[in-house]
């Protein structure tokens, strides 16, 4: 068996192991639940939910879903010329377990969350994201948040290496990201948030030159119009350094400078009905220094709009409806890629 296939096989086994992490975490949460059933004063809370999505682009779905100020807007995707592989229905389950710990130093909340994307017609794209988070309120006006996020062995799609249209290969990436955010309420109406993020992305063997070390900084400004409406402005700068920058002969340096700007409005339309509207603009400037690299002087523009309605139906149940649309264009490919996602979902608090 060729070494490449052996490696792929090992990777797939690794994939199973990583994907089963989500199952293990769910089992862990299950084991934890009797604890808070017996000790309701300890501040345990569990929330679970599921949404059904229609997406018109399987390869772009997860990137569009994670594109937000607190998400992962620089999640890699295939070159746009190779996306557009089709429509699908995606089931998105999630579970969140949190514990509030009051102390003389303030309030601390620890939480673990697992979210899955389960594709109906393209199950090979199914994936999980795991979030571990600690939030500490020093005072009611100042809060520090720490988060570790991982999306293991995520299939981006099939692509080729060295412009050969033969031997299409699965491109897979595992992301590990750490985020810190400091929120401070400046006045009755104004709040500032400072975000920093760093992490790595590891690609599978044929594409290891795309392994990327990244860091990101950015401020958010929140204007609280009143208790029921707020506007959020945010800008992020991110630098990604790919291994390919050291291997000019591969002509595959995916290093980049990423700019992300976002404006969002959140408001309560009625006592239990909330509307959220967001618009994002992303610009990726590729920094490949080799003129023979297809990304030399390359850039990518992404526009994304989303709207979400959530309605609390009962004490423990909320319904959600969401629409997202993104538009991607790279100057080194003469194609536009659109991605529209529509969902209905329900959330239950246990």
């Amino acid at each position: 068996m060729p070494l490449f296939l052996l490696t792929q096989s090992r990777r797939k086994n690794g994939s199973l192991v990583l994907k089963s992490l989500a199952t293990c975490l769910i089992m862990l949460l299950s084991a934890a639940s009797p604890g808070f059933a017996a000790a309701p004063k300890k501040g345990w809370s569990a929330t679970g939910g599921a949404s059904f999505y229609y997406t018109d682009d399987v390869a772009l779905f997860s990137a569009t879903r994670r594109s937000s100020l607190d998400g992962d807007p620089s999640q890699p995707v295939l070159d746009v010329s190779r996306t557009g592989i089709g429509k699908d229905m995606v089931f998105e389950p999630y579970v969140r377990l949190s514990k509030l710990i009051p102390s003389s130093f303030g309030e601390t909340e620890l939480s673990a969350r697992v979210r899955g994307f389960v594709y109906g017609a393209n199950p090979e794209f199914s994936q999980a994201g795991i979030y571990l988070e600690a939030i500490h309120g020093f005072t009611p006006r100042t809060v520090l948040r720490l988060r570790y996020f991982t999306a293991p062995d995520q299939l981006l799609g099939q692509t080729t290496f060295h412009e050969s249209e033969e031997n299409l290969q699965d491109m897979r990436v595992t992301s590990h990201l750490g985020t810190v955010r400091l929120d401070h309420r400046l006045s009755e109406h104004w709040e500032i948030q400072l975000l920093g993020r760093a992490g790595i992305r590891n690609f599978n063997d044929p594409f290891v030159q795309r392994d990327t070390l990244l860091w990101r900084v950015g401020p958010h400004l929140v204007y609280h119009m009143n208790h029921h409406a707020r506007v959020i402005l945010g800008y992020h700068y991110e630098r990604g350094l790919a291994e390919g920058r050291h291997e000019a002969e591969l002509h595959d340096d995916a290093s980049y400078v990423h700019h992300f700007a976002s404006i969002g409005v959140e408001m309560d339309l009625m006592e239990h009905l909330e509307l959220e509207l967001d618009f994002h603009y992303e610009r990726n400037n590729f920094t490949a220094g080799n003129p023979e690299d297809e990304r030399f002087n390359g850039h990518e523009n992404i526009f994304l709009g989303s709207g979400r309605l959530s309605y609390q139906l009962t004490d423990h149940t909320a319904l959600t409806f969401m629409v997202q649309r993104s538009n991607r264009k790279q100057n080194f490919h003469q194609t536009h890629d659109h991605n529209t996602n529509v969902s209905v979902g329900a959330v239950y608090r246990f």
Partner: protein
């Protein structure tokens, strides 16, 4: 096979969660005793809970007092010594959040859902024995009804309903 079993077990364990805040949950409907209760003192309904775990107790207490006084069936008094019975326990609401990507904000109601909670008991002022109890029942929200109104209305309506039943049965009052 492991995954479906895991999910089913997980759901069953979570559905088994029940919050009683250390208050006895035995259901008591002593209608003869309730028929004789005319004056009520309503205690602090936070019941010593952390305000981050039980919110809105003061508002719920105020609304229950308003509704009971307005009914004319009960008079609300300012001290337990003046009362035939005291309403005690815990009542309020809890916040919960479901955003996946979003950190929730410092303050405000956005990205936030509310669930009512409560277990109250009407205790005889002299004997301290429970006359009537009610545990908050979760259910559908009216689109314009706040969670505070829902919790307060439910406790007040249930107590008034039980009192009407007691009065309607012509039970002797002491």
């Amino acid at each position: 096979m492991l995954r479906p079993i895991t999910i089913i077990v997980f759901c069953c364990l979570l559905l088994g969660c029940h919050r009683t805040f250390g208050i006895p949950t035995d259901i008591v409907q002593d209608l003869p005793a309730l028929a004789s209760v005319r004056s009520v003192y309503i205690e602090d309904l936070a019941h010593g809970e952390d305000p981050h775990l039980v919110e809105g107790s003061d508002e719920v207490r105020e609304k229950i007092m308003e509704k009971l006084a307005k009914s004319g069936r009960f008079s609300i008094v300012d001290s337990p010594e003046q009362a035939d019975a005291a309403l005690t326990g815990v009542a309020g609401f809890q916040r919960w959040y479901f955003g996946m990507e979003s950190f929730y904000g410092l303050e405000g109601s956005l990205n936030t859902q509310y669930s009512g909670i409560g277990m109250v008991r009407l205790l005889d002022s002299k004997t301290k024995q429970p006359i009537w109890t009610h545990e908050y029942e979760t259910g559908f929200f009216h689109p314009t009804q706040s969670v505070v109104d829902r919790v307060a209305d439910q406790f007040a309506d249930q107590l008034l309903g039980a009192a009407a039943l007691a009065d309607g049965q012509g039970l002797p009052s002491q």
